[in-house]
Symmetry: C2
Subunit: 142 residues, 2 copies
DNA sequence: TATTGTTATACTCTATAACTATA
DNA sequence: TATAGTTATAGAGTATAACAATA
């Protein structure tokens, strides 16, 4: 069987637009949300690691971490083993912000799902492990 | 059965990050690519329609269309029926640019898919119609 | 009056280059 | 020398407010 990579690319494009719509007005960039999500799911990381996982430059991540730090959503912790490095931790406020954003998106998605044929629900549910496997392939922190 | 909206939100977040990675270095913003894709798939549209479909403000779309016009990727065509409005058309160069971007993303995705279990392939293939149905729900132009 | 689109202005997010401090 | 991170600078992309032209 041929892999439907081209059709899948189109679907991914659509999903990305959907994501943008679900996130409207939650007051956080995609990258900022990604960083908080990574720190929440996978624990503290270095700035360089976060820059790589979000596909942005190191200076961009420095600035983002400054903003998130000013907002009290992450904390910088000195690394005793390597004094050039810092470890970034998510704070309770950061977790709360992340939870709020997820709640909004989940509600909006549920609204959309409610108008969908049950067979589509099943197909989406069945695809979740495959999506996770795919994104795991894509990057160490995914 | 309960709808796994929360798990689906997480999956969508991952897919969005994947999309960003697949698009690296193709020299176009997500919104710009979305506009070209819409004009390619669904034909000419008004600026206001494009702004709504990409969830950006009207001035942001004016500026984006200027950039795309300067790059020769879209053309502005006066609307004789309503002289306030313009119709935006994709050009041959726009289609070529879009095709290039799709080709890069498809190649990168195929690379990732090749490392995946066949059962995941099947699940992803089976989910494509559901994804399209979902994104159709989300917006008229999807 | 309402709608289509532009102009003016300012802020966020990003990249590249040059730098400091530590390994 | 190489790596972790910052500072400086500039450009892209965005929003809100105020506007002009047409419906």
């Amino acid at each position: 069987m041929t892999l439907p990579a081209a059709e899948l690319v189109t679907a991914i494009e659509s999903v990305t637009r959907l994501m943008k719509q679900l996130s409207q007005g939650t007051g956080m960039s995609l990258t900022a949300a990604g960083v908080l999500s990574t720190l929440d799911r996978l624990g503290p990381h270095r700035l360089t690691e976060l820059a790589a996982s979000e596909n942005v430059s190191q200076p961009a991540m420095t600035q983002l971490i400054s903003r998130l730090g000013d907002a009290g959503l992450v904390e910088r912790v000195a690394d005793d083993a390597d004094r050039r490095a810092v470890q970034l931790h998510i704070t309770d406020a950061g977790r709360a912000q992340l939870a709020y954003r997820r709640r909004v998106k989940t509600e909006r998605l549920e609204e959309l799902l409610s108008g969908l044929d049950p067979k589509h629900h099943e197909a989406l549910t069945a695809a979740i492990p495959a999506i996770n496997a795919l994104t795991d392939q894509a990057g160490a922190l995914s």
